[in-house]
């Protein structure tokens, strides 16, 4: 029995509900129109390069990274640009999107569409150039542009690359299926990242409840030097960057610092796959794997989806919205956002679309805090959410600073466990927003 790693502070055990863990990835196909947002990452929106009426192919650069913290946006379909205007996004706010009327698939000439695996890794400069021009962002959900993440400042030293294969959110299985089906590609992706970072070893962190993936990964990783598989306990939020580093290396990222300050870089498994595709196949990031699931989803499945596909199209494909559905969520049930507009497109950061019934996603009326301490026990950052909540309720924002409210990773454990249904996470978010505004 291999050693099971985990983080010592807090964490909760939630019902995993991985309905789609065994359903193979299917191609979602191409909808009639795709809407490609020009901001799918943290940072400034990309600069639009196309005009209305332009013909585009799959992989055509639509918008160029603007500034240091930004990412390229590529076309996910072949067709014609019919509009560039503010369009209603998932949360109801209007954002700039490029609307493309689709035509039959046609690829940019340098994209390699063959299926065989290419194992030779090019030079470091080539890798960095290709990653920079393929619009790769962290696919775990934060959306931090990958080129910045692998560009280590001179005074910092990275010793360890961790490939995050832990999908601790309930329902989501997109990464799990990808790892089961594209294990070798992900490992080559990790080796490419290794070369870009100038280090030799990569650790693939996997969740204990994915025996199939563990078996495949362990078998393939033996062939590659420096690639190790480490198994982590099934506990939420094991996939959180800071929790994963603690579990794997035993080090804590100091408050307010980055993982590279303790010599670690964490990349999502899907990001590693995107890096492989970009470097070996010249394929920019224009599609990703998305899980459609939830207790009211008629046909839960994992789809390979073009960026910009409207959620409605995917929901129709998996059986439509039943009358019991009261919430539709982009992302996982713990950290995802409920959406207002089902016509909104999926972007690079969305790992799942969940259709939940009222029974599942119910919010009970808030009661008194009974001081049970469950929130503090479950907080993976060792904070005292009840205290932050009390301070925010009484408008004492300054005091939350001394409770380290800024270190909250917004995992939602506190609000999940609270027996009085106090929206503790919302209070932490208010505290963080107010503290940020004041500084």
């Amino acid at each position: 029995m291999p050693k099971i790693n985990t983080f010592p502070l807090g964490g909760i055990h939630i019902a995993k509900e991985k309905l789609t863990a065994l359903s193979p990835i299917m191609d979602a196909g191409v909808p009639e129109y795709v809407y490609i947002p020009i901001k799918q990452h943290i940072g400034s929106p990309a600069k639009i390069l196309v005009n209305k009426g332009d013909k585009v192919k799959i992989g055509t650069l639509l918008a160029d990274a603007d500034g240091i913290c930004s990412a390229d946006i590529h076309s996910s379909v072949a067709g014609e640009v019919v509009a560039i205007e503010p369009t209603e996004g998932a949360d109801g706010y209007y954002e700039n999107m490029i609307t493309i009327k689709t035509a039959p698939d046609e690829y940019e000439p340098d994209i390699d569409t063959r299926t065989e695996i290419i194992r030779d890794i090019p030079e470091r400069e080539v890798i960095i150039h290709k990653i920079l021009h393929s619009g790769i962002v962290g696919l775990g959900g934060a959306g931090f542009p990958t080129p910045i993440k692998i560009n280590i400042p001179q005074n910092k030293k990275v010793k360890c690359l961790i490939i995050n294969g832990i999908e601790c959110e309930p329902y989501l299985t997109a990464d799990e299926r990808l790892m089961a089906e594209k294990a070798e590609e992900i490992i080559i992706g990790a080796k490419i990242l290794n070369k870009a970072l100038g280090i030799q070893n990569a650790i693939i962190a996997l969740d204990q409840n994915k025996p199939e993936v563990i078996e495949i990964m362990e078998k393939i990783s033996k062939v590659y030097v420096g690639v190790n598989v480490k198994i982590c306990a099934t506990k939420y939020p094991q996939g959180g960057e800071k929790q994963l580093i603690k579990a794997i290396t035993g080090k804590e990222v100091p408050s307010g610092k980055l993982p590279m300050d303790v010599g670690c870089i964490v990349q999502n498994a899907a990001t590693a796959f995107a890096v492989y595709e970009a470097v070996q196949k010249n394929k920019p990031l224009y599609e990703r794997i998305i899980t459609i699931s939830g207790d009211e989803c008629r046909h839960p499945a994992n789809y390979r989806v073009r960026i910009g596909t409207p959620a409605e199209y995917l929901i129709e494909k998996s059986g439509g919205i039943s009358p019991q559905v009261t919430q539709i969520i982009y992302g996982g049930p713990m950290m995802g956002a409920s959406i207002v507009n089902i016509k909104a497109p999926v972007n690079k950061l969305i790992g799942g679309i969940l259709l939940l019934s009222d029974q599942k996603a119910q919010k009970l009326p808030m009661g008194n805090c009974i001081r049970c301490g469950k929130c503090a026990d479950s907080c993976p950052m060792g904070l005292q959410p009840y205290l932050i909540g009390k301070f925010v309720q009484n408008n004492l924002i300054e005091a939350t600073k001394s409770c380290y409210a800024m270190d909250c990773i917004e995992c939602g454990c506190c609000a999940y466990v609270c027996p009085s249904s106090i929206p503790l996470l919302d209070y932490c978010k208010i505290a963080k927003a107010e503290l940020k505004r004041k500084n």
Partner: protein, 283 residues
């Protein structure tokens, strides 16, 4: 028995005496030196620490007053206490009294009530506009409109704002409003504006902040500003920018108010007359 009583009296008195001596020396040693003038000024101030004057609180304002020259002093103003308080402070400092300023109150630049902008989704969460604004645009679809969750009600230091049960919009009580500006800073949608109210109690303003194109704005809300520019034909100081009209505070409500509210096709311009307004003591 009597021995016990004497012992008790002796011990307790001893403890009390020692404590008194210690306290005496501690209070001598740690006595805070405060400027008597600051204290006097502070006593004139309303003591709500709202921060409307731009200082951290009333004490800070008092300190600033006490240090100011006459010219600097004329720039300081306590919007809550108004002229009465400022003149009192001026007398204390031996400066000249200031002139009367116009009465100003906060107005809500949104009219998206349940009727005008019916909800299309149910918001099921914490009562905080700030959180609701990050979760989605609004249940009624307007990305700039009132969220009806009452952050302003909780923030107002004078209890001047209340949520109307019928419209679910916050209503400002003009008698209680001191134009302190806390609501302006609190509202995540910046819906409040401090606007003057003329002697007859008249006000005219655009009750909308929606910057979307007219058709989209109108789809979600009956009384949205659609940027039709009709109002700017009446007075050229009214500017329409990003599909949204803005009436400057200097525009006379008495002269143009009625005309403006009648010409506005969506009734986004509000012209109102507040009667029986309680005058400030200094008026």
């Amino acid at each position: 028995m009597s021995e016990l009583i004497y012992t008790n009296i002796f011990v307790l008195d001893g403890v009390a005496l020692t404590a008194a001596v210690i306290l005496y020396f501690v209070s001598k040693k740690f006595k805070s030196k405060s400027n008597p003038k600051v204290e006097q000024i502070e006593q004139c101030l309303p003591q709500v620490n709202c921060g409307a004057c731009g200082k951290v609180g009333c004490h800070d304002f008092a300190t600033a007053c006490s240090k100011s020259t006459e010219e600097e002093f004329s720039k300081l103003y306590c919007p809550v206490g108004g002229l009465t308080v400022m003149n009192k402070i001026a007398t204390l400092l031996g400066y000249e009294e200031q002139n009367k300023k116009e009465k100003r109150i906060a107005v809500l630049r949104c009219n998206g009530s349940c009727e005008n902008a019916p909800a299309q989704k149910i918001y099921d969460g914490i009562f905080s506009c700030q959180i609701a604004a990050t979760v989605s645009s609004s249940p009624n679809g307007c990305p700039d409109g009132c969220l009806h969750l009452g952050d302003c009600v909780r923030a107002c230091p004078f209890q001047a704002i209340q949520i109307d049960e019928k419209t679910s919009l916050p209503v400002i009580n003009p008698d209680k409003c001191t134009a302190c500006g806390v609501c302006v800073r609190t509202c995540p949608r910046q819906l409040f504006e401090i606007r003057p109210i003329n002697k007859k109690g008249e006000q005219v303003y655009v009750a909308c902040r929606n910057r979307q194109k007219g058709a989209i704005a109108r789809k979600n809300c009956k009384v949205a500003c659609i940027g039709c520019q009709k109002c700017s034909t009446i007075n050229s100081t009214i500017k329409v920018k990003d599909n949204l009209s803005y009436i400057p505070t200097t525009l006379s409500a008495e002269k143009y108010g009625k005309e403006l509210s009648e010409i506005c096709p969506t009734k986004a311009i509000v012209y109102r007359k507040i009667t029986n307004i309680k005058e400030d003591a200094d008026a």
